[in-house]
């Protein structure tokens, strides 16, 4: 199994840590992982993305242009990376803020209203965890427990009281993914 994912969005949306959680979780399950951030000036306020690869084999290139899964959390990211989904791949997008939905038909498209849901849960910061949940539902690359353990690694100690909330968010995401209308 090799899963090649890109996660893209605004700087504050937690795209980098989403990728990190995936990778930490992969490590828990003894998989090979690679996390490659876009770094540079765009990080200051602008957009950010990271490539996460989780695989049973040794990973060659950590830099890719085609992905099994693309997660787009804002419009510019969707516009930029829609074409990067491999045929038959998965595209998840944040449907409460993205107005122009994707148009490809050769892939699986999963709209998740994660922001709205996060607002309902009274913590906009957990939006990314909702999306993560949706991903894991659709592609159980790693187990939920591993994801929680991964989260523990990424979250600074002082935020560990928020882990239950995050877990809830992941579960909510899974729920949403189940209900969502997947176009393919």
């Amino acid at each position: 199994m090799t899963e090649e994912i890109i996660i893209a969005g605004f700087g504050g949306q937690g795209v980098l840590s989403m990728g990190q959680i995936l990778c930490y979780s992969g490590v828990m399950e003894d998989k090979e992982v690679s996390w490659m951030p876009s770094y540079g000036p765009e990080m200051r306020g602008g957009t950010a993305n990271c490539i996460a690869i989780i695989s049973d084999e040794k990973i060659s290139s950590p830099i890719l242009t085609k992905f099994d899964t693309v997660i787009a959390l804002n419009q510019p990211s969707l516009d930029k990376f829609e074409s990067a989904v491999k045929p038959g791949g998965l595209l998840i997008y944040e449907a409460s803020t993205i107005i122009n939905p994707p148009t490809r038909t050769d892939i699986e498209v999963l709209p998740i209203e994660a922001s709205n849901e996060a607002a309902k849960m009274k913590n906009i910061k957990i939006m990314n965890m909702i999306v993560l949940g949706s991903l894991l539902k659709r592609k159980p690359i790693i187990k939920l427990e591993s994801a929680i353990k991964g989260l523990e690694k990424v979250l600074p100690e002082r935020y560990h009281h928020l882990i239950p909330l995050n877990k809830e968010a992941i579960e909510k995401g899974m729920e949403l993914a189940e209900k969502a209308t997947v176009t393919a």
Partner: protein, 357 residues
């Protein structure tokens, strides 16, 4: 103590490896994309091993602090990125001439000038041909994984002391910023014994130790150079390291170092899917460069393409290795752009496969 498996950023892994290698001192100056090395060490090192960590006032100062500290025989290092490394060139020439072992790390970014902070490989010439003045060589290691960012710290110090020569880890911003699993080595103790040549205070039992680089007499300086050159021949005989991936039976070979070698591997997989047999040759030591291995390889393949994040630097060494036996092409990206596997394959098809059929 058992070895520990961690997920780490390249820069931080390298810094951690320095602590674990029993490094005695780090002197450096912030510059993106390698400031995490200094930052990580500022947080961790002194409290754990008593290692000295000092933010210098400039790269010029850093490298000269390294010269002083390493001249005592301690394990000393610095790190920087391209423009900062340029400022160190005089110091590196002194360090090489004075035969002061130390570890230098260049986390390359896109140049020239202030350039970009994205990854680059355009300091290859500077590192292996000698950006500083005079004939000297820096043993240069090019990691391609975060694990190697760790491993080459220990190896680097060992080689530095074995040859009393500076060793450079030549990496790039992407490797510095990316995260991978790493197996960390055990904590090595800090150095407690003095080196016989170190400038630490003249005791009655020995002549004074001087670290210096000057001779007023040209003939003395020539002998000095000959001694250095003899050492370099020895390094060239013993320390060449390279990796060949699927070169056996390959028609074409991609030559690349560092991260790009891994992208080339992916490109080779894509090629295989198309029925083109492509191998990857990765020089691990850039100096000494694996000329002989390439030359041998040239007997069995149709052509080479060197892939670099620059406008064509290592390709000259590839050509020197191949020495006219087979065509050597080049594909490069500059200014911080990382080539993609698809693009590499396309260029290979265009420049070699297309040409040679």
């Amino acid at each position: 103590m058992k070895k520990e498996l961690k997920l780490m950023k390249g820069n931080e892994a390298l810094a951690e490896a320095a602590i674990l290698a029993g490094c005695d001192a780090y002197f450096g100056y912030p510059i993106t994309p390698q400031s995490e090395v200094l930052e990580y060490l500022s947080n961790e090192a002194t409290k754990r091993t008593g290692m000295v960590v000092l933010q210098a006032e400039s790269e010029v100062a850093s490298i000269n602090m390294v010269y002083g500290a390493a001249g005592t025989g301690k394990r000393v290092m610095t790190s920087s990125s391209s423009p900062g490394m340029s400022l160190m060139q005089e110091g590196i020439s002194y360090i090489a001439c004075g035969e002061v072992p130390c570890l230098l790390v260049n986390v390359q970014r896109g140049g020239p000038g202030l350039g970009t902070i994205q990854p680059g490989q355009a300091d290859y010439f500077q590192a292996v041909k000698g950006g500083g003045h005079g004939d000297y060589k820096v043993l240069t290691l090019a990691p391609s994984t975060v694990q190697e960012m760790v491993d080459f710290v220990g190896l680097g110090f060992d080689l530095a002391f074995k040859y009393r020569n500076p060793v450079m880890i030549l990496t790039d911003g992407a490797l510095g910023q990316m995260m991978e699993k790493v197996l960390l080595p055990e904590q090595k103790p800090r150095k407690t014994e003095y080196e016989p040549w170190g400038s630490t205070g003249k005791t009655p039992d020995r002549e004074r130790n001087i670290i210096y680089t000057l001779s007023l007499q040209a003939d003395v300086m020539e002998k000095w150079n000959q001694r250095l050159q003899a050492k370099y021949r020895e390094i060239e005989a013993n320390e060449v390291r390279s990796e060949m991936i699927d070169c056996e039976g390959a028609d074409y070979v991609l030559v690349a170092y560092g991260l790009v070698a891994r992208i080339c591997q992916k490109a080779a997989h894509l090629a295989a899917e198309k029925g083109i047999k492509v191998g990857v040759f990765r020089p691990v030591t850039l100096y000494p460069f694996p000329y002989a291995d390439l030359n041998k390889l040239a007997d069995n393949v149709k052509g080479f393409m060197s892939v670099e994040m620059n406008a064509g630097q290592m390709v000259e060494d590839v050509r020197l290795g191949v020495n006219g036996k087979k065509p050597v092409e080049f594909h490069g990206r500059q200014g911080g752009i990382i080539p993609s596997p698809e693009e590499i394959l396309a260029k290979l098809e265009e420049k070699l496969v297309g040409e040679l059929v």
